[in-house]
Amino acid sequence: DTAVSQTPKYLVTQMGNDKSIKCEQNLGHDTMYWYKQDSKKFLKIMFSYNNKELIINETVPNRFSPKSPDKAHLNLHINSLELGDSAVYFCASSQVGVAGGGKTQYFGPGTRLTVL
């Protein structure tokens, strides 16, 4: 059974288009994340949702908009795609609970986005 899944795994699109990446976790976790991995393999957090509430919102262009319809899903919508958006996007989840931090994050397989 896939714990954290993302669709699509590959996405090739033209500059200026709008695209979405979907993420689902079946681990029962209460917190989900989006990370961006650039061409140099550097991983940086973009957003985090806890129980559908946005709790981390790093400095990313407002063309990126996360949406969490429920605890098990966190989608990433990107408007007006630019060349610099080409990267691998990872979804992750963890169970934070009321006690707070330190919980292992489980990652999805990643979505390789290529903007032409």
Binding site: Y35, K41, L43, I45, S48, V96, G100, G101, P109
Partner: protein, 115 residues
Amino acid sequence: AQTVTQSQPEMSVQEAETVTLSCTYDTSESNYYLFWYKQPPSRQMILVIRQEAYKQQNATENRFSVNFQKAAKSFSLKISDSQLGDTAMYFCAFMKRATGNQFYFGTGTSLTVIP
């Protein structure tokens, strides 16, 4: 802000040998967690090992162990009896014990196991 440094961009090791990957971090936090993740060519991020900062005992998972030096802010990963399947990018990550569970990743070390 927290920073995580992995000073070895690339390393190689002979199969069955032992290799150590270094990681240092900078923080003013006292409660935090450290992780090593592995990213093979398949791109999947896989947890290798984690360490709670309040525990003095070094974490161990089969062939993987860490040398956690809190005062020196050092968190190295030792891989014993290296196997071909260990070939991957290895990322060190820091998480402070606070709302959000934000990970700060190092820049990664690309490890190649040579047959």
